[in-house]
């Protein structure tokens, strides 16, 4: 449950396929231009801007830091566990239990479906095929992300990095459009969060390693009340720039 005790390096070498030999594939998977539909989602930033909770670079930083250590950590744990080879359908159920907002469950499944399509083209895999067949309307995006990383020969820690980075890059990119924030300032926010992302990714990968022996309940389930509440409000808006 500690969010700040896992130092980088505390994770043992991953036991996923192709130990860290395939690092370059992470650049493809985590690239904002990877055609998985993420650009259409603001990660809660659109609702937070409207409510005045994101106004400038400082409030964007606080928003992203909170999101990284809550739902970002949770997503990173699920992704790392999928890369480590834990059952993706059980992980999908665990993701449902960790997502009380139906708007966010729907968004996660929509993103999961789009990512499945892109990942099956990039790294064909019977495991991705099986998940797509079992969840035709889409599995939760972090589970698909972890399975895509596995198909690409990446390690659980790599998937945790990708999930954690998405948790902050989405809102930062959206804030540039929503607030006309200086892109240099938004990038500086992301750079400033890098050490925190290192810790979160390692904590998530360590939890995934334990989950293989102790069960999925040891995966992080950290939640952010305002993200859930605001997502429901956002879903009810008649006109939105972003899908979530």
């Amino acid at each position: 449950m500690d969010t700040d005790t896992c130092a980088p390096g505390a994770v043992e070498p991953p036991d996923g396929p192709g130990p860290s030999a395939a690092r370059a594939a992470l650049l493809v998977l985590a690239d904002g231009r990877f055609p998985a539909g993420g650009h259409a989602h603001s990660g809660g930033a659109e609702a937070a801007v409207k409510a005045g909770r994101i106004r400038d670079a400082a409030t964007l930083e606080a928003f992203c830091r909170g999101r990284l250590h809550t739902t970002g950590l949770t997503a990173a744990g699920l992704a790392a566990a999928a890369t480590a080879g834990l059952d993706p359908l059980d992980l999908d159920d665990a993701a449902d239990a960790r997502t009380p907002s139906p708007a966010l469950r729907a968004a996660a499944r929509r993103l999961g479906r789009q990512l499945t399509r892109a990942a099956r083209a990039a790294w064909p895999s019977p495991e991705l095929d099986a998940l797509a067949a079992a969840r035709p309307r889409g599995a939760h995006q972090p589970v698909v992300l972890g399975l895509a990383a596995r198909a690409a020969g990446l390690a659980p820690l790599d998937a945790a990095y990708a999930a954690g980075y998405e948790a902050v890059s989405g809102p930062a990119t959206a804030a540039v459009r929503l607030l006309s924030l200086d892109p240099f300032d938004a990038t500086a926010v992301l750079a400033g969060l890098a050490p925190a992302l290192d810790r979160v990714a390692h904590e998530a990968a360590e939890a995934a390693r334990r989950a293989a022996f102790e069960g999925l309940d040891v995966l992080p389930a950290v939640s952010a009340p305002l993200l859930d509440i605001a997502a429901e409000q956002h879903a009810a808006w008649p006109v939105r720039l972003f899908a979530s």
Binding site: A62, F63, P100, A221, V222, L226, I229, E232
Partner: protein, 269 residues
């Protein structure tokens, strides 16, 4: 059977356990064959309401202190009905050693059984460090109402560190799993994604198999609260507020919304 035992001098904390068993009494009501607690766990048997037994935890206000280890085990047997309440808010306070306190609650609700778990607020005082874990196993036909309210700091006070995990499994499957961390050591907890400057946060969880046939749509309750259906037969009202009083109002509004619908859960409240 269980009792409060003063911890060894090295950790200067209290170790206490309590155990509640509610079971049908054979006359249409619910008996309490086990009601066992000591130290901070002074349990009182209140007048039952219809088939529902009522246990109230009294005098909980000064625990847990840092270093304390508190455990509460509750069994609601098949067909029983139990209400649990507390007389006052629970205040997490710093201990002498800086060690965290742990409050561990394990609950099992059997077939056709009902549990209404309605404690008062948990207040995280400055300098405190509490890890609260609540794990609930529900039989497929069990029903649950659970209210959880957290207040971060007493009036005008910064909060301590609070980490709480609520895990609800139904028929052996995960239904709701939520971890909340606030205060020092929880980066970004006060930012716009998590609490946005609010100091009271809470939820009301209702699990009832009747939701399978009478699903409740999501509903907004003002700008800082929402009622949402979970992926299983359950709904949760989530709210943040400036203070405990306004939080309770939001959760009460959520209760009204859930139970005034035309679904099959009305009689439950």
């Amino acid at each position: 059977m269980t009792s409060a035992v003063a911890g060894p001098a090295v950790d200067a904390g209290l170790r206490a356990a309590a155990h509640i068993v509610a079971a049908p009494d054979g006359r249409g009501g619910t008996g309490l064959p086990v009601l066992d607690g000591a130290g901070p766990f002074a349990l009182r048997r209140l007048r039952p309401q219809g088939p529902e037994a009522h246990v109230r935890l009294v005098g909980a206000m000064s625990a847990p202190l840092g270093g304390d280890l508190l455990g509460l085990t509750v069994e609601v047997a098949d067909g029983a009905a139990l209400r649990f309440s507390t007389t006052a808010a629970t205040i997490a306070l710093p201990g002498r050693t800086g060690a965290p306190a742990a409050y561990d609650t394990r609950i099992h609700v059997g077939e056709g059984a009902t549990l209404r778990w309605l404690p008062e607020q948990l207040i995280s005082a400055r300098g405190s460090d509490l890890r609260s874990t609540t794990r609930i196993e529900l039989a497929p036909t069990a029903r649950l109402v659970l209210r959880e309210e957290q207040v971060l700091g007493r009036v005008g006070e910064d909060p301590g560190r609070l980490a709480s995990r609520l895990t609800v499994r139904r028929a052996g499957r995960p239904l709701f799993d939520q971890e909340l961390t606030y205060g020092p050591g929880a980066p970004g907890w006060d930012g716009g994604a998590v609490l946005g400057g609010h100091r009271a946060v809470g939820q009301l969880l209702v699990v009832d198999p009747a939701f399978e046939e009478h699903p409740v749509p999501p509903r907004l309750l003002g700008t800082t609260a929402a009622l949402t259906p979970l992926a299983g037969p359950a709904v949760v009202v989530s709210a943040v507020a400036p203070d405990a009083l306004r939080l309770r109002r939001l959760l009460d509004a959520g209760v009204t919304t859930v139970f005034d619908g035309d679904g099959g859960v009305r009689a439950f409240w």
